[in-house]
Amino acid sequence: MIEDPVYQMSEDDDRSPPLDLGGPASVTESSNKTRNCTGVSGSGSSPIEFQAQYPDQVLENVLENVLYFLTSRRDRSAASLVCKSWLHAEALTRSDLFIGNCYAVSPQRVTARFTRVRSVSIKGKPRFADFNLMPPNWGAHFTPWVAAMATAYPWLEKVYLKRMSVSDDDLAHLADSFPGFKELVLVCCEGFGTSGLAVVASKCRQLRVLDLIESEVTDDDVDWISFFPESQIYLESLIFDCVECHVNFDALERLVARSPSLKKLRLNRLVSIGQLYRLMIRAPQLTHLGTGSFSTSAEVMAQGEQEPDYVSALAAAFAACKSLVCLSGFREILTDYLPAIYPVCANITSLNFSYANINAEQLKSVICHCHKLQIFWVLDSICDEGLQAVAATCKELRELRVFPVDAREDIEGPVSEVGLQAISEGCRNLRSILYFCQRMTNAAVIAMSRNCPDLVVFRLCIMGRRRPDHLTNEPMDEGFGAIVRNCKKLTRLATSGLLTDKAFSYIGEYGKLLRTLSVAFAGDSDMGLKYLLEGCPKLQKLEIRDSPFGDAALLSGLHHYYNMRFLWMSSCRVSRRGCREVARAMPRMVVEVMKNDLEEEVMADYVEILYMYRSLEGPRDDTPKFVEIL
């Protein structure tokens, strides 16, 4: 899955200052007052056709017209803080709503303030929930949101949800409530199944986009693809690569055939290469393609037949897709078929091989053509040698993600500092990197900091916990220090390996633009966290696990927590007493304390998981048993 740059921007562009915590007065009331105070402007005679309006009314109309063009969230928030009439005008003209934390504000408050919304984005669970660090059913339910929006926003067109819990009933409610609904995007969501999808498919007659990305979809034995009516001919994007059940292929083929506007199609791993071929010849206009399994079906394999020669036919189908720029899938790749994609390599800007267990040689045969590649996701099966090939060809590379085939800790590992160094030397335009490895050196990280000064995102995961530089045996302090020092645009950082408090002093000193930071198994003492909280003024999202930071460190951040979206600390050294002190000192923080292992008895004062966030609403009312709000 490649994150659409638009969504990526939503992530990085989150610069909105906190919602007005002073408590909004009734907006309608205040603007009426303004009007009444001014009286009529009576300068001179006015022609009959031009009614002289109250000057503030004129200003407000002008403002609304101007604000209509304002799209950046940050700018809109700034505009809304000027005065009450600007607050009102901005609220009337905001059509895209972004809620970074579904518990920071209630659906009622939102729908009361913003009345003309067409598009809503909501984010729910903290990211560490993806790694089972929190029991399921924590919350982030879509239900109250869809209920409020159903009455408030009848013209709603687009819903984007990330890490939310969405039920089939929610989807049905959505499908019933918004006649003009066009786009549904669910990223890392769960709680729904194919029956919910069927309702959306059949009732959302204006649907253009149905994107299911990294979400868990239960198999209710419903043939949801067949629920798209024959009249559905407007589909532009259909992404279901995360759906782990068979879809009715004939219905899918008919759907694709009647959708001339279809630009994005990402198939799941149960679609065979033969089926892929049949779909591709019906949709040469595709720009984004997820190839499904890229392998022959199990039945064909079992019979030991000679696989029909799909390679040349498939290559022709690829060649016909002249607009293809984004390629993914390859879920069970049969490498014999790899040459079929050669015809599109020269044009693609985004390639996701992160499910394809291919070696260096196989990668080379493809990558040598990919001169325009900007986004590349791959498995470490390609080894350092494969990364060297990437570095040699992909001079336009902006984003690289290297995932491990084998995610254990104590194994040899096929990629290392050699690959990182090569990438840094070849791909000078790199903006974003996620790199899993077993061994690393400070030298290579320092080299990257110098060679790729435009880095915005640096996420290094040395899989062995607390591993030092494997050549010098020193901590990785200097490497990460160089990154924050030299990469002046850095906004997101994830650390790993052996790190002392020194690394955090570097981050605090140089990470002035840092917004998102992930720390695991690092640091020596409270000073580490203190450096961060005192040094990084833009820090918004801080997630820490298994690091020796305690109450003293926690309490050193009181000046900053209202500026943050959240703080996560698990398996650290904070106590209930410390967390309670934060809750007392900061009434608008919701301080959640949780246990991950429901069986285990723990010391009364020990806090296994702390998750705290600012909110206008106070403690939520849907906490599960394992969550306590202090």
Partner: protein, 193 residues
């Protein structure tokens, strides 16, 4: 001065004092069923928690538990759908095309084997001998497979037929497209080269 901090010794961990530490990642629970994860499933991967930086001897609840491997939840930070997908492939053994057809001269049908299952030539040859009920004999660099009517050959990426055993095992696994066990005069002809 220097970095002789011996952090491991001073590390606070869960477990009885003096208990051996084996830190292993628990293989992710590979429920491919896409039914909502039941509590049991999630529990499996979170058994005796790896709170490895924590209360140490203060928390002795698990007195009865034997010194265990400390399994670390959620590390490395790979999302479960990704882990499950790789696990699926391991289970199905169907990745990178290392299933190869094996033909034996004179046999009525071919077989298919997964080269990844074997770690070395002797293992592979033993398996072939068992599968086809024949003897292949021992490899020697100079004369190939002596003392047998059979010689194992393979077709490599370039389409050439090579004798099994000449190149390092890993290289063989990467380049082997199919196997053919030659018999009789053809085989003997090889050993005379």
């Amino acid at each position: 001065m220097g970095m002789n901090l011996n952090l491991k010794a001073t590390e606070l961990r869960l477990g009885l004092p003096g208990s051996e530490e084996h830190e292993k990642q628990l293989p992710s629970s590979t429920s491919r069923s896409n039914k909502r994860a039941s509590p049991e499933v999630s529990e499996d991967s979170r058994t005796s928690n790896g709170k490895s930086s924590l209360l140490g001897s203060r928390n002795c609840v698990r007195d009865d538990a034997p010194p265990t491997k400390t399994q670390v939840v959620g590390w490395p930070p790979i999302q479960s759908y990704r882990k499950n997908n790789m696990q699926v492939k391991r289970d199905e053994g169907d990745n990178g095309g290392v299933y190869v057809k094996v033909s034996v001269d004179g046999a009525p049908y071919l077989r298919k084997i997964d080269l990844k299952v074997y770690k070395s030539y002797p293992e592979l040859l033993k398996a072939l001998e068992t599968m086809f009920k024949l003897t292949i004999g021992n490899y020697c660099e100079r004369e190939g497979y002596n003392g047998s009517d059979y010689a194992p050959t393979y077709e490599d990426k370039d389409g050439d037929w090579m004798l099994v055993g000449d190149v390092p095992w890993e290289m063989f696994v990467c380049s082997c497209k199919r196997l053919r066990i030659m018999k009789g005069s053809e085989a003997r002809g090889l050993s005379c080269l």
